[in-house]
Amino acid sequence: MATVELEDLEKRYGDVHVVRRLNLRVAHGEFVVLVGASGCGKSTTLRMVAGLDSVTAGTIRIGDRVVNEVSPRDRDIAMVFQSYALYPHMTVRENMAFGLQLRQTPAAEIDKRVRAAATMLGLTDLLGRKPAALSGGQRQRVAMGRAVVREPQVFLFDEPLSNLDAKLRVQMRLEIARLHRRLGATMVYVTHDQVEAMTLADRIAVMHEGLLQQCAPPAEVYGRPANTYVATFIGSPAMNLWPVTATRDADGLCLRGNGLDVHLDAAAAERVRAAIEALPQDGAGGREVTLGVRPEDVDVAAIGDAVLAVDVVEPLGAETIVYGQFDGHEPARAHGRDPPTLQRHEGPAIVRVAPSTQMRAGDKVPVRLRRDRLHVFDVHGLRLAHADGPP
């Protein structure tokens, strides 16, 4: 069984702590995407799995075997690099056959597998060419073919699409998805692109500064982000985060701050209310939390929770993104106690509306937050509750 297990995995370069206590289990046949901003330690993690970087502490298991000290060639993995790393002096055929030749695979078998991979990836006519005579997309495909012919236990991808233009990237993304479906192989895929992560992954592992923030299926990472970092990293435009103070009133909770005045009555957002009420109160009877709402969960309404002063309107065709500020917004307001790893989003309010909505810069529009789509985070940025779906 081709599982990959990372247990308390650590990587340090001198004083630089690149990967911290990473625990991750990739099931047989699963497609896990490591995603995070540039420099968060994704490649380092993948390279440790490949055996190209040494492990500072912790264990890596592939199948049942601890591979910490096993050389890359004996790990039975294949890796596709961002730069493709095709051998420039070999033809496409030789590039794909190289690994098999080194393993003394019979020539007939090599030929069969190279042909099959070439057919699958549309490379049949290019087998005699050298990499220099290929386009970016073709090179990318050769790099994948080279991995496929090896029939490894685990495929590793390090930002394989980052050097392609936008159109080709979409095409190759589909091709990788198809490849995974067809081979059913275990794949670990690194990217900084959340769209790739969302579309390809069985599970997404979000990393930030060497720490795993959340590992869950795409819908869950999107619908129930574990903290404010994940909330803003996944989803475009990012989730709105507003520091507010919650106080009790006659029939529920009142969330105020940043120009917002959200009343949660006894019928609304039960879990959110319960989670907030479980927090200790400050002297004035208030509780500080961060309210999170995705741009699509803000509606233009007759009676709003806030008045949006429209700043920029971006019509994208299928939808329109509106950037603005709430009246009464206090720019510098934020909870002061956040640990540095959990960033707080302090941008303007972002609202996603139907393209038919008439709006112009300078308009003042009342908006209402969907009660059943609220997220709340504590002052450290950790998720307290969300209103939607299972807990």
Binding site: L52, S71, H89, A132, R139, R146, R150, N163
Partner: protein, 283 residues
Amino acid sequence: MTPPPTARPALWPHLLLVPVTVATLYPVLYVIKLAFSGTGGVSASPWPFPTAASLDAFAAVVQRTDADGRWIFGAQFGNSLVVATAATAIGITLSCSAAYAFARFDFPGRRFGMIAFLATQMFPGILTMIPLYVLMQRLGLLDSMLGLALVYSTTSVPFCTWTLKGWFDTLPKELEESARIDGATRLQVFTRIILPLSAPAVAVTALFSFMTAWNEFVLAYTFLSDEAAWTLPVQIRAFVGDKDVQWALFASSSLIASLPVIALFYALEKHLVGGLTAGGVKG
């Protein structure tokens, strides 16, 4: 479309370059003139172009035999060829592997080693002559082609190592990592990925090694006493002796000796042009 205005070439570069060119070519032309002037004696005229077309001097050089009737030219030409080839082979083998280690491995003494290699290049080579002579004598390698080849290869190793390390540094690490994942051992990575991609750099260093060894005079003159063991430069110098100065033989043997180097240059020319790595990574 109007043709781009052609800049009128400035005059002053020519004023500078023409005399430099003449000064560079004059001795070469003069040697050619001497070589074709036959064996009958040389005019003292400063005119650099051949005034005769006699091949006598060439024939005399090529057919030379020693007192015992041995074909001395053949022996010396062979010596030069063996020494230069062996020196190149030894030097390239050593410097390729050393350069790869310097380029890719982190080991104690790496920096010091590189600097020490550089330092040897800062002293005039003649400084090492006496220690080398003693060394060769102790090892019984005086008057031996192997000894001379070893000496030559060691003197070219530092330069070749630096050049090759510079080249290896430009080869993307991912190529090697990819090969290691594909199943290659370190040695296979080196022989099947690195070396084939390094043909231009190896060609340059090989040419340098060969030329250095082929043209070297001082050490050969010091270490080789038997005329039949001489290399060509020693023989060429010997034509200009204390009492007997044979300018025509000197000139014609010089020309003959330069032919293999020219041939080698043409043979390696296509490798000297780089660009082999284009397209492997990104692009």
